[in-house]
């Protein structure tokens, strides 16, 4: 038997939904805990940031201010393997919507007392530190989380297949929401692994798992335009989960 994996679970700017996936593993959680030693997990215990080395860090959330950047760098120094956990950690996620509006505008819409908010632009972890692996999605997928943790326990690099949501949707034999209803679906350019959850429930893909390397977002946007999708709807689709930097628009 290999040694238990020393793991820390950390949170920057995010909703904690991805950490909740770990909590909600339920029966699998007990199996996972046989192999990992949770050294830091704020959601379940009040300990301070650890000072001892970790085998792996799961970091949820976007970096939105200096304190978070400093905390992330400390986590990086402590950890042999760093996993960007969820859409916010991967690309900035929903938080990054505000990156293309004047500072304070989004905060004044969302919060009643925006003067208490201390955050600037939102970025994914790889803007500040080296990221060893990604768990995509909003929230992350529980099977991918277990596979990633168990791969790390076995000391092999985690692997998330590089296929698209569109392919998984076709594997299921779903009718295409774009071709049949002209709804702008981001499935063709989005990292698969969710089992095409949204389109399988008749909802166009929002792209929460990020843009898959090698796909062509601008080709997809042209197809939407040709199908008569409004510029406003296209703007909203590309902004929600930070697809716009890839599209260059």
């Amino acid at each position: 038997m290999v040694d238990k994996l020393k793991v820390g679970v950390f949170k920057l700017t995010s909703c904690s939904g991805c950490q909740m996936v770990l909590v909600h593993l339920e029966e699998s959680l007990l199996e996972v805990l046989k192999h990992i030693d949770l050294k830091y997990f704020r959601m379940v215990s009040d300990d301070d940031l650890p000072n001892e080395p970790l085998d792996a860090a799961l970091v949820e959330g976007a970096v939105t201010n200096e304190e978070e950047a400093a905390m992330l760098k400390k986590i990086r120094r402590l950890s042999r393997f760093l996993v960007a956990t969820g859409a916010c950690a991967a690309t900035g996620g929903v938080n990054a919507m505000k990156n293309i509006t004047p500072e304070g505008e989004v905060e004044s819409i969302v919060y009643s007392s925006p003067e208490y908010v201390r955050s600037g632009k939102a970025f994914g972890l790889n803007e500040y530190v080296k990221v060893d692996a990604y768990l995509y999605g909003c929230p992350i997928d529980r099977n991918e989380l277990v596979n990633t943790l168990m791969s790390l326990v076995l000391r092999v690099p985690p692997y998330i297949p590089g296929l698209t949501v569109c392919m998984e949707c076709k594997m299921k034999g779903n009718e295409c929401v774009f071709l049949t209803r002209r709804e702008p679906c981001l499935g063709p350019v989005t990292v698969g692994g969710c089992g095409a959850l949204c389109p399988s429930n008749n909802v166009a893909c929002e792209g929460c798992r990020g843009v898959l390397k090698g796909t062509n977002v601008n080709g997809l946007v042209s197809a939407w335009e040709k199908a008569g999708v409004s510029p406003e709807l296209i703007r909203i689709k590309l902004r929600k989960y930070t697809v716009y930097p890839v599209a260059g628009r």
Binding site: N147, C166, M167, M171, P188, K213, G214, G219, S222
Partner: protein, 342 residues
């Protein structure tokens, strides 16, 4: 031997197939399109044979499931999880293009080395094919001789004659299935009516691929600017790979199995439109550009298959055209490369 089944007897026939111990798959009408579904005995009324093309390539997914467990590794022992060879599956209402696509997959998976998973499923599969009674704007099977009618490759074959179906047997397995299902014999008028139907469908097919000397033309076009042009439109989604009934590539991954502490080896469908497909160790990639990946897809069907398996790798089902979000049309690509269309 040829028989006649009345149209209203199709549910009764479906129930007969199930009663013979087969798991039955047949087309069911969805909101927009038909797709193949597993039919339970109380669902036989849902079977609907009025369709041009089903959403999914049905035969491919029955023979190579999109995701399947190949083996389990537990306590250092490898255990193959082969499909149950005694199980019996029947698929009702498969069009000629898809039956021919299955024959092409047999060349891939049942030649040396044989794929035991595919072989077990193929051997337990009974094919009740259905000649086409209509065609739409995406069909081009006549270019490859893979439709709209079938001469071989089926156990039973249906032809829609309006108020009734002509049923022909193509194998002993097929003949056995209907040996105790009462049907009147077909007459020469029925056979003539079948020929008329097929002639009429052939006349409905508007799309074509000119295959004469195609391989030489494709090789000559490897550096044609069209591939870059297509890369501007293509989303790189790989939907064409998934819906193509002859695309056979797969990926394999090992996944930890929590409760046993072992590992399972999983096979999933893969596609040449993906970046990762031609990626090798240390990040090298033989097809970095999307243009190279589209070129591979088109050339594999229209060129490389010939050397690999002795025929072209397209059956003209039209799914890749119909399902492409960017509207890329493989018949038009070939026509442009041949200089037949601007």
């Amino acid at each position: 031997m040829s028989f006649i089944i009345k149209r209203e007897d199709i549910p009764h026939f479906s129930r007969h197939v199930i009663s013979k111990g087969y798991t039955l798959f047949a087309p069911v009408k969805g909101e927009f399109k038909h797709s193949f579904k597993k039919i339970a005995e109380n669902q036989v009324e849902d079977v609907s044979l009025d369709f041009v093309r089903t959403t999914m390539p049905p035969l491919k997914s029955l023979l190579i499931p999109p995701r399947e467990t190949l083996l389990k590794i537990r306590n250092g022992k490898v255990e193959e999880t082969l499909p149950d060879a005694t199980s019996r599956t029947a698929i009702l209402g498969v069009h000629p293009c898809d039956v021919n696509a299955m024959s092409l997959l047999e060349r891939v998976y049942m030649d040396r080395p044989k794929d035991p998973y595919f072989e077990a499923r193929r051997k337990s599969l009974l094919v009740i094919a259905l000649n086409c009674k209509t065609a739409d704007e995406y069909c081009f099977c006549t270019s490859f001789g893979t439709g709209p009618s079938l001469e071989e490759g089926f156990d039973l074959l249906l032809t829609d004659l309006g108020d009734r179906f002509l049923l022909e047997t193509g194998s002993r397995k097929g003949a056995e299935l209907i040996s105790d299902f009462y049907m009147p014999r077909a007459t020469s008028t029925d056979i003539l009516e079948k020929d008329d139907t097929i002639r009429r469908v052939k006349g409905m097919i508007r799309r074509h691929v000119n295959t004469a000397g195609l391989q030489r033309i494709m090789i000559g076009a490897l550096y044609n600017p069209i591939w870059n042009e297509l890369a501007g439109m293509c989303t790189g989604c790989g939907a064409c790979n998934m819906v193509c009934p002859t695309c056979f590539c797969f990926n394999m991954t090992d996944e930890p199995e929590l409760d046993s502490g072992g590992t399972v080896r999983i096979r999933t469908w893969d596609g040449c439109l993906l970046w990762e497909y031609a990626e090798v160790a240390l990040g090298g990639n033989f097809r970095r550009d999307l243009s190279a990946r589209i070129r591979q897809f088109v050339n594999h069907k229209m060129n490389y298959w010939l050397n690999q398996y002795g025929s072209l790798g397209c059956v003209g089902c039209g799914r890749c055209i119909e399902q492409c979000p960017a509207g890329i049309d493989i018949t038009r690509v070939v026509a442009r490369l041949r200089g037949e269309t601007p």
